[in-house]
Protein backbone atom coordinates (compact mmCIF):
# COMPACT_ATOMS: atom_id res chain seq x y z
CA UNK A 1 0.00 0.00 0.00
CA UNK A 2 1.36 3.42 -0.96
CA UNK A 3 0.56 6.87 0.44
CA UNK A 4 -1.28 7.85 -2.78
CA UNK A 5 -3.64 4.87 -2.34
CA UNK A 6 -4.89 6.21 1.00
CA UNK A 7 -4.44 9.98 0.91
CA UNK A 8 -7.31 12.45 0.59
CA UNK A 9 -6.81 14.40 -2.64
CA UNK A 10 -8.86 17.36 -1.46
CA UNK A 11 -6.49 19.77 0.29
CA UNK A 12 -7.88 22.82 2.08
CA UNK A 13 -5.57 25.78 1.68
CA UNK A 14 -5.32 29.35 2.88
CA UNK A 15 -2.80 32.09 2.14
CA UNK A 16 -0.23 33.09 4.75
CA UNK A 17 -1.79 36.56 4.98
CA UNK A 18 -5.35 35.26 5.47
CA UNK A 19 -6.85 35.80 8.92
CA UNK A 20 -7.67 33.07 11.44
CA UNK A 21 -11.28 34.14 10.89
CA UNK A 22 -10.89 32.95 7.27
CA UNK A 23 -9.31 29.70 8.47
CA UNK A 24 -12.21 29.06 10.89
CA UNK A 25 -14.68 29.66 8.06
CA UNK A 26 -12.80 27.30 5.72
CA UNK A 27 -12.77 24.60 8.42
CA UNK A 28 -16.46 24.99 9.22
CA UNK A 29 -17.56 24.85 5.59
CA UNK A 30 -15.37 21.78 4.89
CA UNK A 31 -16.20 19.44 7.74
CA UNK A 32 -13.67 20.84 10.24
CA UNK A 33 -10.64 19.50 8.40
CA UNK A 34 -7.24 21.12 9.03
CA UNK A 35 -5.88 23.71 6.61
CA UNK A 36 -2.56 24.01 4.74
CA UNK A 37 -1.01 27.49 4.59
CA UNK A 38 0.59 28.32 1.23
CA UNK A 39 2.40 31.34 -0.17
CA UNK A 40 1.44 33.24 -3.33
CA UNK A 41 3.14 30.60 -5.53
CA UNK A 42 1.12 27.79 -3.93
CA UNK A 43 4.12 26.40 -2.01
CA UNK A 44 3.47 24.81 1.38
CA UNK A 45 4.65 26.82 4.38
CA UNK A 46 2.74 25.39 7.27
CA UNK A 47 -0.11 23.45 8.70
CA UNK A 48 -2.99 24.78 10.79
CA UNK A 49 -4.51 22.15 13.04
CA UNK A 50 -7.84 22.38 14.81
CA UNK A 51 -6.06 22.68 18.16
CA UNK A 52 -4.05 25.60 16.80
CA UNK A 53 -7.28 27.41 15.92
CA UNK A 54 -9.13 27.00 19.23
CA UNK A 55 -6.18 28.56 21.08
CA UNK A 56 -7.45 31.89 19.72
CA UNK A 57 -10.96 31.49 21.14
CA UNK A 58 -12.22 34.85 22.42
CA UNK A 59 -9.61 36.87 20.51
CA UNK A 60 -10.13 39.12 17.52
CA UNK A 61 -9.67 36.48 14.81
CA UNK A 62 -9.59 39.03 12.02
CA UNK A 63 -6.36 40.52 13.37
CA UNK A 64 -4.48 37.21 13.64
CA UNK A 65 -2.78 35.96 10.48
CA UNK A 66 -2.74 32.34 9.38
CA UNK A 67 1.05 32.53 9.45
CA UNK A 68 0.91 33.18 13.21
CA UNK A 69 -1.33 30.16 13.82
CA UNK A 70 0.43 27.61 11.61
CA UNK A 71 3.05 25.07 12.56
CA UNK A 72 5.88 25.23 10.00
CA UNK A 73 5.89 22.16 7.78
CA UNK A 74 9.27 21.03 6.53
CA UNK A 75 8.73 17.43 5.41
CA UNK A 76 8.50 16.27 1.84
CA UNK A 77 6.25 13.24 1.76
CA UNK A 78 6.17 11.58 -1.64
CA UNK A 79 2.89 9.98 -2.80
CA UNK A 80 4.84 6.83 -3.74
CA UNK A 81 6.13 6.26 -0.21
CA UNK A 82 5.06 2.96 1.34
CA UNK A 83 2.39 3.61 3.96
CA UNK A 84 4.61 2.19 6.72
CA UNK A 85 7.18 4.94 6.10
CA UNK A 86 4.48 7.62 6.43
CA UNK A 87 3.12 6.06 9.63
CA UNK A 88 6.63 5.97 11.12
CA UNK A 89 7.00 9.69 10.34
CA UNK A 90 3.62 10.47 11.93
CA UNK A 91 4.56 8.56 15.07
CA UNK A 92 7.98 10.21 15.29
CA UNK A 93 6.84 13.78 14.68
CA UNK A 94 3.39 13.51 16.34
CA UNK A 95 1.88 15.10 13.23
CA UNK A 96 -1.61 13.67 12.81
CA UNK A 97 -1.71 14.86 9.21
CA UNK A 98 0.96 14.66 6.54
CA UNK A 99 0.90 16.95 3.56
CA UNK A 100 1.72 15.05 0.40
CA UNK A 101 3.87 16.99 -2.04
CA UNK A 102 3.85 16.78 -5.83
CA UNK A 103 7.28 15.30 -6.64
CA UNK A 104 7.19 16.64 -10.19
CA UNK A 105 6.58 20.31 -9.36
CA UNK A 106 9.50 22.54 -8.41
CA UNK A 107 8.06 24.23 -5.31
CA UNK A 108 6.39 22.18 -2.57
CA UNK A 109 2.88 21.94 -4.04
CA UNK A 110 0.34 20.03 -1.91
CA UNK A 111 -1.54 17.28 -3.75
CA UNK A 112 -3.01 15.35 -0.83
CA UNK A 113 -3.40 14.92 2.90
CA UNK A 114 -2.83 11.74 4.83
CA UNK A 115 -4.53 11.78 8.22
CA UNK A 116 -4.47 9.46 11.20
CA UNK A 117 -8.11 8.70 10.41
CA UNK A 118 -7.15 7.30 6.99
CA UNK A 119 -4.56 5.14 8.75
CA UNK A 120 -7.36 3.90 11.04
CA UNK A 121 -9.29 2.87 7.92
CA UNK A 122 -6.23 1.03 6.66
CA UNK A 123 -5.67 -0.70 10.02
CA UNK A 124 -9.36 -1.66 10.24
CA UNK A 125 -8.90 -3.71 7.05
CA UNK A 126 -12.21 -2.44 5.72
CA UNK A 127 -12.07 -1.60 2.05
CA UNK A 128 -13.30 1.95 1.52
CA UNK A 129 -16.57 2.09 -0.32
CA UNK A 130 -17.37 -1.56 0.37
CA UNK A 131 -20.58 -0.86 2.25
CA UNK A 132 -21.86 -4.40 1.87
CA UNK A 133 -18.86 -5.64 3.81
CA UNK A 134 -19.41 -3.00 6.49
CA UNK A 135 -23.04 -3.98 6.89
CA UNK A 136 -22.13 -7.68 7.14
CA UNK A 137 -19.59 -6.84 9.82
CA UNK A 138 -22.11 -4.73 11.78
CA UNK A 139 -24.66 -7.52 11.61
CA UNK A 140 -22.08 -9.94 13.04
CA UNK A 141 -21.22 -7.72 16.00
CA UNK A 142 -22.83 -7.94 19.39
CA UNK A 143 -23.20 -4.59 21.16
CA UNK A 144 -20.25 -3.69 23.43
CA UNK A 145 -20.63 -4.82 27.01
CA UNK A 146 -23.45 -7.23 26.32
Amino acid sequence: MRVCDLMDREVLVCRLEDSVKDVVRIMKVNGFAPVVAVDETGEVWGFISRLAVIRFYGEDLERIRAEDAMRPYKFEVDPQWPIEKAIALMKKTRFEHLIIIDPHAGPKRPIGILSSFQIVWYMSQIERGRYAQVLRMLAAWTPSGS
Binding site: K21, V24, R25, M27, K28, F32, R50, L51, V53, I54, R55, F56, Y57, G58, L61, E62, I87, M90, K91, R94, E96, S115, S116, F117, I119, V120, W121, M123, S124, Q125, I126, V134, M137, L138, S144, G145
Partner: protein
Protein backbone atom coordinates in the same frame (compact mmCIF):
# COMPACT_ATOMS: atom_id res chain seq x y z
CA UNK B 1 -21.10 36.28 29.57
CA UNK B 2 -18.48 33.55 29.72
CA UNK B 3 -19.46 30.46 27.68
CA UNK B 4 -19.67 27.22 29.67
CA UNK B 5 -19.10 23.61 28.62
CA UNK B 6 -22.71 22.55 29.33
CA UNK B 7 -23.99 24.57 26.37
CA UNK B 8 -21.64 22.94 23.86
CA UNK B 9 -21.23 19.36 25.07
CA UNK B 10 -22.94 16.40 23.41
CA UNK B 11 -24.65 13.73 25.46
CA UNK B 12 -24.42 10.71 23.13
CA UNK B 13 -21.20 8.93 22.23
CA UNK B 14 -19.70 5.97 20.37
CA UNK B 15 -18.39 3.38 22.82
CA UNK B 16 -16.31 0.24 22.80
CA UNK B 17 -15.48 -2.31 25.45
CA UNK B 18 -12.09 -2.39 27.22
CA UNK B 19 -11.63 -5.98 26.04
CA UNK B 20 -12.26 -5.20 22.36
CA UNK B 21 -9.27 -5.65 20.08
CA UNK B 22 -7.64 -2.57 18.56
CA UNK B 23 -8.68 -3.90 15.14
CA UNK B 24 -12.33 -3.85 16.26
CA UNK B 25 -11.96 -0.33 17.70
CA UNK B 26 -10.45 0.81 14.37
CA UNK B 27 -13.48 -0.68 12.62
CA UNK B 28 -15.84 1.12 15.02
CA UNK B 29 -14.14 4.44 14.28
CA UNK B 30 -14.06 3.80 10.52
CA UNK B 31 -17.67 2.68 10.23
CA UNK B 32 -18.96 5.55 12.36
CA UNK B 33 -16.69 8.15 10.69
CA UNK B 34 -15.55 9.35 14.07
CA UNK B 35 -12.10 10.17 15.40
CA UNK B 36 -12.66 8.94 18.95
CA UNK B 37 -14.39 6.24 20.95
CA UNK B 38 -15.24 6.10 24.67
CA UNK B 39 -14.00 2.94 26.40
CA UNK B 40 -16.24 1.36 29.02
CA UNK B 41 -15.91 -1.67 31.31
CA UNK B 42 -18.49 -4.43 31.78
CA UNK B 43 -20.44 -2.24 34.24
CA UNK B 44 -20.56 0.48 31.54
CA UNK B 45 -18.30 2.76 33.59
CA UNK B 46 -16.07 4.99 31.50
CA UNK B 47 -12.39 4.02 31.63
CA UNK B 48 -11.03 6.45 29.05
CA UNK B 49 -11.03 7.49 25.44
CA UNK B 50 -9.33 6.20 22.29
CA UNK B 51 -8.55 8.55 19.43
CA UNK B 52 -7.34 7.94 15.90
CA UNK B 53 -3.90 8.93 17.17
CA UNK B 54 -3.99 6.23 19.88
CA UNK B 55 -4.71 3.64 17.18
CA UNK B 56 -1.96 5.00 14.96
CA UNK B 57 0.50 4.53 17.83
CA UNK B 58 -0.46 0.85 17.98
CA UNK B 59 0.61 0.31 14.36
CA UNK B 60 3.14 -2.53 14.24
CA UNK B 61 1.60 -4.42 17.16
CA UNK B 62 -0.71 -7.39 16.74
CA UNK B 63 -3.99 -5.50 16.37
CA UNK B 64 -6.10 -8.58 17.03
CA UNK B 65 -4.37 -9.29 20.34
CA UNK B 66 -3.81 -5.73 21.63
CA UNK B 67 -6.92 -4.49 23.43
CA UNK B 68 -8.61 -1.13 23.90
CA UNK B 69 -7.49 -1.27 27.54
CA UNK B 70 -3.84 -1.32 26.39
CA UNK B 71 -3.99 1.88 24.35
CA UNK B 72 -6.70 4.06 25.93
CA UNK B 73 -6.05 7.54 27.26
CA UNK B 74 -7.13 7.17 30.90
CA UNK B 75 -10.21 8.88 32.21
CA UNK B 76 -8.01 11.54 33.80
CA UNK B 77 -8.52 14.60 31.69
CA UNK B 78 -12.08 15.56 32.42
CA UNK B 79 -14.05 18.75 32.73
CA UNK B 80 -17.40 19.54 34.35
CA UNK B 81 -20.49 21.06 32.68
CA UNK B 82 -20.07 24.35 34.52
CA UNK B 83 -16.41 24.78 33.61
CA UNK B 84 -15.78 27.63 31.23
CA UNK B 85 -14.99 26.94 27.60
CA UNK B 86 -11.63 28.67 28.11
CA UNK B 87 -10.71 26.15 30.83
CA UNK B 88 -11.68 23.29 28.51
CA UNK B 89 -9.59 24.74 25.67
CA UNK B 90 -6.58 25.18 27.97
CA UNK B 91 -6.85 21.50 28.99
CA UNK B 92 -7.23 20.33 25.38
CA UNK B 93 -4.25 22.41 24.32
CA UNK B 94 -2.05 21.27 27.20
CA UNK B 95 -2.86 17.61 26.64
CA UNK B 96 -3.09 17.83 22.82
CA UNK B 97 -6.51 16.15 22.80
CA UNK B 98 -9.52 17.06 20.68
CA UNK B 99 -12.27 15.53 22.84
CA UNK B 100 -12.90 15.90 26.56
CA UNK B 101 -15.04 13.73 28.79
CA UNK B 102 -17.50 15.85 30.79
CA UNK B 103 -18.20 14.51 34.29
CA UNK B 104 -20.89 15.51 36.75
CA UNK B 105 -19.96 18.41 39.06
CA UNK B 106 -21.82 16.91 42.01
CA UNK B 107 -19.41 16.26 44.85
CA UNK B 108 -18.11 12.70 44.87
CA UNK B 109 -19.76 11.84 41.57
CA UNK B 110 -17.69 10.59 38.66
CA UNK B 111 -20.65 10.03 36.35
CA UNK B 112 -20.05 10.93 32.72
CA UNK B 113 -22.61 13.41 31.47
CA UNK B 114 -21.25 14.20 28.01
CA UNK B 115 -18.38 14.89 25.66
CA UNK B 116 -16.93 18.14 24.40
CA UNK B 117 -15.75 18.02 20.77
CA UNK B 118 -13.28 20.36 19.12
CA UNK B 119 -15.58 20.66 16.08
CA UNK B 120 -18.26 22.24 18.25
CA UNK B 121 -15.79 24.80 19.60
CA UNK B 122 -14.72 25.78 16.07
CA UNK B 123 -18.39 25.99 15.00
CA UNK B 124 -19.01 28.28 18.00
CA UNK B 125 -16.06 30.49 16.98
CA UNK B 126 -17.40 30.70 13.41
CA UNK B 127 -20.88 31.55 14.71
CA UNK B 128 -19.55 34.33 16.95
CA UNK B 129 -17.52 35.78 14.10
CA UNK B 130 -20.59 35.78 11.86
CA UNK B 131 -22.62 37.54 14.54
CA UNK B 132 -20.06 40.31 15.03
CA UNK B 133 -19.51 40.82 11.27
Amino acid sequence: MEEIVRRLMRTGSITCSASDSVRKVAQILAVNSTHYCVVTNQSHEVLGIISARSILRAFGKDLDKTTAQDILLPHTFTITPNSTLREAIRLMDRRKIEHLIVTSDREGSKAVVGLLHIEDIIAKMAQEEQRTA
